[in-house]
Amino acid sequence: MKAAVVVFPGANCDEDTRWALEQVCGVPTQMVWYREPVPEDADLILLPGGFSYGDYLRAGALARFAPAMESVRQAAERGRLVLGICNGFQILVEAHLLPGVLLRNACLQFLCKDVWMKTVRTDTPFTRGLPEVVQMPIAHGMGNYFIDPDGLKALQDNGQIVFQYCDRAGRVTPEANPNGSVANIAGIINRAGNVLGMMPHPERASEDALGSHDGRLLFESAIEALARV
């Protein structure tokens, strides 16, 4: 199998993501410049964190129109696995590959800290084998997930909420919500189950030296899911 990381101007987690895939998980990983299409043989496509286009207009709003994104859309339609992390999640919602939108954090501060998340779904290609509660860092100013009540109901009815911010014991409480996200949402998946967007950074939690290896479990889940196909 092969992974691809799309490099947008202003991305800053692209190399960390490559490291986690290649050095930690042993998956050949191609870096794809945003002006180029993602190769058709890429099984796992990553949209990394950072500040594409300086977050101008709205986070992800301009990256959505980058040439690489058309190939990401086509790959998603073909059922390839697509993972958007942080800014990658913001790009996926702006591109309408995932519903909702990410607003400025309710507290207005840029948040850079470890959070706990409840793994709501352990039957997606990305989350098999994940513990019920995982720890990963967040680093964002605009991670406040918003969707209207009808949209939230659809997410709940279709089982699209994959991660919710929680406390260490797995309780999804208002106090455990760092940024004001609707329903403590930290990550959602599309209805087809192959496009995941999340604000926390699995690549920054992929080795014990980083404080957590829960992120590695997520990458390994995707790799195993692809090996089964």
Partner: protein
Amino acid sequence: MKGKVIVRLKPEVSDPQGMTIQQTVAKLGFGGVKKVRAGKCFEIELDAPDRRSAEKLLNGLCDRILANPIIEDYTFEIEE
């Protein structure tokens, strides 16, 4: 022609930026400021033959990129 586009958060979307500005100006002694909502303004120079085509251009621009319809509304004015 010139277009002036205002993009605002929809009323039901919370605006922490506006709330913080309101709290700060209240601390500065501007007691009469009850509520602030922050938005965006775009001044756009247009190459359009008439007003109608300028409106069409601006609507297309706002719908496709300047505003996110999930959270934002827009209005615009055209100066000839």
